[in-house]
Amino acid sequence: MGILEVKNVGKRFGGLQALSDVNLSVKENSVHAIIGPNGAGKSTLLNCLVGKLIPDSGSVMFDGQSVLGRAPYEINQMGISRVFQTPEIFGDLTVLENMMIPCLAKRDGAFELNAIGSVMSQRDILDKAEAMLEEMNMLEKRHMHAAAMSRGDKRRLEIGMCLSQEPRLLLLDEPTAGMARADTNNTIDLLKQISDERDITIAIIEHDMHVVFSLANRITVLAQGTPLVEDDPQNIRGNPKVREAYLGESA
């Protein structure tokens, strides 16, 4: 049994069958990549996992519990954190405040009406946020406006925010899309470090094969809304079906 079990999931948009009969099992503490040509249904699948979309059929179980019909915030509270393709952070807030919010969400839950105490006097939250910033190498930027940072820094901040919630499963949606080579390599190193040092499962949707083969220890190939193969990286490389799916697409 994997930590995330996707069974027979289907999703249709009008006349388009975006997903059909998707089965996927993500093992605990693995780095599982989901790859596939454009329009294969990767993003739709991801959105079904985090509560943005509700599949028409099938089931999605996380750690033995169904996530279907739950709101994104509930699914997050179950232990799934999501990193977006373009970094989604609180641009109007400072870097430190950005980091404090997930810490508060972890401690106090989805809603807590604490309107009187000063947020800066919450020692535990402050320490935790600063420690995470330290780990992300951005402590000296803590008073900066998050929106004013470079894209690479925003990505680091977003990953740090997700990690500070101590999630069991980290979902990444093309985390290096639009990045320069150097930034991409930095992100790969960061993710490697995270998966080595932490008790965490990572599921990653990616286009860039360099990223996929540097990180993943399990790969699912999605084509036309349905899984083609699921295997170890070395076997995927040589698989003729995969080649066909990609070449057919690019040709």
Partner: protein
């Protein structure tokens, strides 16, 4: 002090000094001098300053922090006024129960309206609040006449029951509002030389409540709750994917700001025990929007400044007439004097709203941070590092 950071304590002290010494500050010209008409140290005017200050502080908790633009907040002010007047009619002329009831009722009202309106965001939210407020206004004018007394407005009469008080005083008139015997209208006049300062009980009650309301808003701004509200404004998507349910946060902000509006309405009725439907009209809601934006939405002191600014100049402008203008410009040659007076004339007296509209547009276009941003820019300009201060003011949005 008071569990606040140094900067916030300073801000609170400034507001405290401004409000407590307002009878002096607003009365700079000796009685009988030509400029005395520009004094603003009269009880009813000063009461209006602080009451609208409270209203704007509350509105800012919603709009300034979450970015949800409500165009119906006057409805809560109106409900607060009606509740307070009913308390005067039924229970007693003590303002305390009246103010409490107005806060509670407007809070409940805000809970219902907020619960429905907040199912939408952006412009739809604005239109929903607008629709609710206009509906309340129409109902108050027509069907709810037994409660609101329709067009005439709700007033006290000699045959009101007033269970814990007298229906009428010994000399047969309607009793006056009081706080455990301290009459709201009683005013102590202090003559110092040519000056005549007025200290009014009602004003000081309002001022103390304003200080409490301001203090509470500072606490809210600096609290985890306040940070969550700013997160709502900044990025709701990220918030939801961080395990936070933004709905109850915005609803709580909506109810709190509705209660502030109700408090302002209750105080208004406590100072002058009547309530009319026109207080609920959407242009009245627009006024508190103007105050907050003009002062600086999302800043602590902005709404107070905006409310004071608008109410002060509303009073001053309405008093300026052509004669006053001729007096001011008499140093100019005759033809030029007439010309200047002719140009300025549309903007004064009854033209105050024109001036206000233009001012408001200029602020929205050029100074989105309102008077507070203006102050910061001038400050930075004086220090000679315009650039540096602009970025600094951005990092401290909740000044």
């Amino acid at each position: 002090m008071f569990g606040l950071e140094k900067r916030d304590t300073t801000l609170l002290l400034i507001v405290a000094i401004l409000t407590l010494f307002a009878p002096f500050i607003l009365n700079p010209f000796p009685t009988g001098s030509g400029l005395a008409q520009f004094n603003a140290g009269y009880p009813d005017l000063m009461q209006r300053f602080v009451i609208f200050g409270i209203f704007a502080i509350g509105f800012n908790i919603l709009f300034g922090l979450t970015g949800y633009l409500s165009f119906g907040h006057a409805a809560f002010l109106g409900v607060g006024s009606y509740s307070a007047v009913w308390m005067f009619k039924l229970l007693s002329m003590n303002v305390l129960p009246a103010i409490l009831l107005s806060v509670i009722i407007s809070g409940l009202f805000a809970l219902v309206i907020g619960y429905i309106s907040l199912r939408r965001s952006g412009i739809y939210f604005s239109i929903l609040t607008l629709a609710f407020a206009q509906m309340s206004f129409s109902l108050a004018y027509s069907v709810l006449t037994p409660i609101t007394n329709g067009e005439t407005g709700l007033q006290l009469t000699l045959d009101d029951p007033r269970i814990l008080g007298a229906s009428a005083t010994a000399d047969g008139s309607i009793p006056v509002t009081n706080l455990f015997g301290l009459e709201m209208r009683s005013t102590y006049q202090m003559a110092v030389g040519a000056w005549d300062f007025q200290f009014n009980i009602g004003y000081y009650l309002c001022a103390l409540i304003l200080l409490a309301a301001f203090y509470l808003s500072i606490r809210i701004f600096r609290s985890p709750f306040g940070m969550m509200l700013r997160a709502v404004k900044s990025n709701q998507q990220r918030m939801n994917y961080t395990g936070l349910n933004s709905k109850p946060y915005t609803l709580a902000a909506f109810v709190i700001s509705g209660m502030y509006a109700g408090l302002a309405g209750g105080l208004m009725a406590s100072m002058d025990p009547l309530a009319g439907a026109e207080r609920m009209q959407w242009t009245a809601s627009g006024e508190v929007v103007l105050m907050t934006i003009l002062g600086g939405a999302g800043t602590l002191i902005g709404p107070v400044l905006g409310a004071g600014f608008i109410k002060y100049f509303e009073n001053i402008f309405s008093k300026i007439n052509d004669n006053v203008l001729h007096g001011w410009f008499s140093f100019l040659p005759d033809g030029l004097e007439d010309f200047v007076v002719f140009i300025v004339h549309p903007f004064i007296g009854k033209g105050w709203h024109l001036t206000l509209g233009i001012l408001f547009m200029l602020v929205v276009i050029y100074l989105p941070g309102g008077l507070v941003e203006g102050g910061q820019r001038i400050h930075g300009w004086i220090r000679g590092n315009k650039r540096g201060d602009a970025s600094q003011s951005k990092t401290n949005p909740a000044e």
